[in-house]
Point group: C2
Chain length 233, copies 2
């Protein structure tokens, strides 16, 4: 399997970084090929802007998705974006590895999605969800957070974690066609003992070695909707 | 009323920008004070990093929220962050004005939240939701998107818009204590006629002049949870 890990943490000694390092080590030892995009180390630019486009389709008015599509088709997209698109094209499994910031990815990773999930390749027209450009590939979130599992139950103060993460799981990864595996959540990290953290590493390694046993999350199927995207009767 | 509009769009001629301009004009004409943070024009840096801190609490290992709290208390946070915190402190109503990117804010605005919603002022310890630092202030999202309303019904292909936006509405604004007004959504913008867009401007102006009639969204109340944040029996 070919695996791309996109990693975002501002502190190289962080536990989030330890999860990334463990994933690389475990997956390589299991015979897989692994590439890493370490966004902080790369000084990744997260800001989608007109600077992402060389020759413009419309130089008077920028519609980001239309220029993405045009730039991808003629190879004039910014080189840092094209390099990441190439890595995603290459991989069978995409892992986003990050600390939760406001129940989502940190901005540097949001900007990786904004700029790399290009119209025309990842989605376009009626090509999304199970018709998205990334069908056949899997994706998984692996993240750290301060909260504890009981805060994310149905009755929990923050509600279910998959609902809080819906725009990522369904709105970005699922929309682009990835088969989205259940997220791996490392809860309560800043407050755990050394032993508590070691247990998470054991659990994550186990998870990484048993990905094939996981049932992907369920999202809408385009076949259930008509041409205008109304539900079929 | 004192109103802060945080605006993010890469195209100055965009309809999203027209919504921002209309809001400024309408609210000033109605006697309110308005300030605008135009993130693209300001070249806002969205990346949370160690560069945000002057004198560090722990110079060997950075925990972003802890350094935020420390830096806010002693005034050593990055000046661009402090300037935005001051604007939020000043305002009675915060409007986030943006185009939907992957069912969320563009990265430049996510990074405004990541860096500006500082621990110690916006939240901290058990101070969140109705105990959050921003209680007494209101907040509202105003955004443009390509999708149409029927795609966001309970049976719609993307599910309810408030669920897709949950990490923003509840996980960021609600968590920080804001009273969150229902979002203003400008649907189908890239495909609308001139008349269709004019109608949205009329609707938005009407919305801005009747904010007091809106019922805020409902989020958890800390009083319903015990010390360890388990639901009270």
């Amino acid at each position: 399997m070919k695996i791309l890990i996109v990693h975002a943490h501002y502190e190289p000694q962080s536990f989030t970084t330890a999860l990334k390092d463990l994933a690389v080590e475990t997956l390589v030892a299991a015979g897989h090929e692994v590439r890493v995009s370490d966004l902080y180390a790369m000084h990744w630019n997260p800001v989608a802007s007109v600077a992402d486009f060389g020759e413009r389709k419309n130089s008077d008015y920028c519609t980001y998705a239309l220029e993405q599509r045009h730039g991808f088709e003629n190879g004039s997209l910014a080189p840092d974006v094209l390099a990441e698109v190439e890595k995603v094209d290459w991989c069978d499994l995409l892992i986003l590895n990050f600390p939760i910031f406001w129940f989502s990815v940190p901005a540097i990773m949001k900007g990786w999605i904004d700029r790399v999930f290009v119209s025309g390749r990842f989605y376009g027209g009626k090509r999304f969800y199970d018709q998205g450009g990334m069908t056949g590939k899997r994706a998984m979130l692996a993240f750290t957070l301060g909260g504890q599992p009981h805060m994310f139950g149905i009755e929990g103060i923050h509600g279910e974690i998959d609902l809080m993460l819906r725009p990522l799981l369904r709105g970005a990864l699922g929309y682009a066609g990835f088969s989205v595996l259940p997220p791996f959540a490392a809860y309560h990290v800043p407050y755990l003992s050394h032993e508590g953290r070691q247990q998470i590493l054991v659990d994550y390694q186990q998870r990484l070695l048993t990905l094939d046993t996981l049932e992907p999350l369920r999202f809408p199927s385009m076949g259930d909707f008509d041409e205008r995207l109304y539900p079929k009767a």
